[in-house]
C-alpha cells in the first residue's frame, strides 16, 4: 500500500489544498473554496473549474468520496470527504514537504529565510 501512496507524490498545489481543506470536515464545493482561501490566508484561491477538475481526479483515484447529507440545504449540494487512503496520501505529502522545509532550514541562512 505504501508504494501506492508514493505514486501520487508530489501532489499538485490545488490537490494538496483540497485534501487539506477536506481533512477537517466534509465540505461541498463552495465550502472547499472558502476553506482553501482561509487556510492559505487568502494567498491561494481556487476557481470552480480548477476545483472540480481536481475533485474529479481525486474521486476517480479513490482519494475522495461523495457523501450524502440529510436536510434541505445539505441535500441540494454534494459533499465530499477525504477517505483513509486519501489521508495517507496527504500525510505522506506533508511528510515530504516537512523534509523539504527541514532541508531548507539547514541549508539557508536564517536571515534569508526571514526575508
Amino acid at each position: 500500500m505504501k508504494e501506492d501512496v508514493a505514486k501520487f507524490l508530489p501532489l499538485a498545489p490545488a490537490t494538496l489544498h483540497i485534501l487539506l481543506a477536506l481533512a477537517g470536515e466534509d465540505l461541498h464545493g463552495y465550502g472547499i473554496m472558502q476553506e482553501v482561501s482561509r487556510q492559505s490566508l487568502g494567498q491561494y484561491k481556487l476557481g470552480p473549474g480548477t476545483l472540480y477538475d481536481n475533485l474529479q481526479r481525486l474521486l476517480d483515484q479513490g482519494l475522495v468520496q461523495e457523501v450524502h447529507r440529510a436536510g434541505r440545504e445539505e441535500s441540494r449540494r454534494r459533499y465530499y470527504r477525504v477517505n483513509s487512503f486519501g489521508r495517507r496520501v496527504l500525510a505522506a505529502e506533508i511528510a515530504r514537504l516537512d523534509a523539504v522545509v527541514r532541508q531548507g532550514s539547514r541549508l539557508l541562512p536564517a536571515r534569508l529565510r526571514r526575508a
Partner: protein, 289 residues
C-alpha cells in the same frame, strides 16, 4: 448576460464532467456574483475547459454499446462499436496543432524571406531538392509552347485596337479581344458573321460590316460618292475583301458559308491564325514600318 456565457461555457465541457459538476459550478458562480471576481471565474473556466478536453481523454464519451438480438441458442450477444465520428478531443487537438503549424510556418517564411524548398516532381531523378521556383521538367525538354500576348511591344497593337473596333466583322470574330483571330475563331466565322445580319436578308452590307458615313441631315452626300465609299470600304480592308470574294460590295450567303476558307487565304505565315499585320490594311502596316 455574463451568467448565460458562463452557463454556455460550462456546457462545452465533456458530458460526463458537465453532468457531474455543471450545476455546482453554476451555483458557485451565482454565489460569487457580488464580489467582482467575474474575470477570474471565466479564466478559470476556460483553463478547465482546456484541461478537460486536452488532458482528460479518459473522461470523454464512452464507446457506444449495442445489444444484438439473441441467437437461436438464446445466448445474448453484445457488441461494442466505436463511434464512426472522430472524438471531439481529437478534433480540438488537430485544430490546435494545425494552428500552431500554420503560425510557425508563417513566422518562418516571414523571418527568412525564403519559402521552404519541397520536392514537387522531377522527370529525371536528381539527388538535390527541387526548388519551388524551378521547372519540374528537365531543361531542354519543352513539351508545351506558351505564347504570351505581346501588347505594348508590337507598335501595331494600338492600331489594331482601334481598327478591330471599327470593323465590326473583326470585332465579332475576335471573340476574346486579343486582336488575334485564332484558329478556333476562324472556324466559327460563318456563325459569327450571321450574327451581324441585322436585317436578316442572309447577306452582309457594308453598313453591317462597320461602314458609317454619319447622319447629319445638313450635309447631304452624293449617293454615287457614298456608293463608291461603300465599295472602297469592302475592297481596302483585307478581311472584308477576302470575304467578299466576288467584290460586289456585299458578303452574300454563299460567301458567308465559305468564310473560313476565305480568311485562311490571309494567313501569310501559315501559322493558322491571323495577326494584326495580316489583317490591317497595307497603309497602316506601312505606317508602322
Amino acid at each position: 448576460m455574463d451568467r448565460l456565457l458562463y452557463v454556455w461555457l460550462v456546457g462545452l465541457h465533456p458530458r460526463q464532467f458537465r453532468e457531474r459538476f455543471g450545476q455546482e459550478m453554476i451555483g458557485i458562480y451565482d454565489e460569487h456574483t457580488g464580489n467582482g471576481r467575474h474575470a477570474a471565474l471565466f479564466i478559470d473556466l476556460l483553463i478547465s475547459l482546456f484541461r478537460q478536453w486536452m488532458l482528460r481523454p479518459a473522461h470523454h464519451e464512452p464507446a457506444l454499446s449495442i445489444a444484438l438480438p439473441a441467437t437461436s441458442s438464446d445466448t445474448p450477444v453484445f457488441q461494442l462499436l466505436d463511434s464512426s465520428l472522430p472524438r471531439r478531443s481529437a478534433l480540438v487537438k488537430g485544430a490546435i496543432l494545425t494552428l500552431i503549424w500554420f503560425s510557425a510556418m508563417t513566422l518562418f517564411i516571414g523571418r527568412t524571406g525564403h519559402p521552404p524548398r519541397f520536392l514537387i516532381a522531377t522527370r529525371t531523378p536528381r539527388p538535390q531538392v527541387l526548388g519551388v521556383g524551378e521547372p519540374a521538367a528537365w531543361r531542354g525538354e519543352p513539351t508545351t509552347q506558351i505564347k504570351l500576348k505581346a501588347e505594348g511591344e508590337d507598335p501595331l497593337y494600338p492600331f489594331a485596337k482601334a481598327y478591330f473596333r471599327m470593323i465590326r466583322v473583326l470585332d465579332i470574330l475576335d471573340a476574346n479581344h486579343d486582336w488575334i483571330i485564332s484558329p478556333w475563331e476562324i472556324i466559327t466565322v460563318p456563325a459569327a458573321l450571321r450574327r451581324l445580319d441585322q436585317n436578316h436578308d442572309g447577306k452582309l452590307s457594308p453598313e453591317e460590316c462597320g461602314f458609317f458615313v454619319g447622319e447629319n441631315p445638313k450635309t447631304k452626300l452624293d449617293p454615287q460618292v457614298v456608293q463608291r465609299a461603300r465599295l472602297d470600304f469592302m475592297r481596302l480592308n483585307p478581311v472584308l475583301a477576302a470575304l467578299d470574294a466576288d467584290h460586289d460590295g456585299e458578303i452574300s450567303a454563299g460567301e458567308i458559308q465559305n468564310a473560313t476558307a476565305a480568311l485562311k487565304t490571309l494567313d501569310q505565315n501559315l501559322d493558322g491564325r491571323l495577326t494584326p499585320d495580316e489583317v490591317l490594311p497595307d497603309a497602316l502596316t506601312l505606317q508602322r514600318q
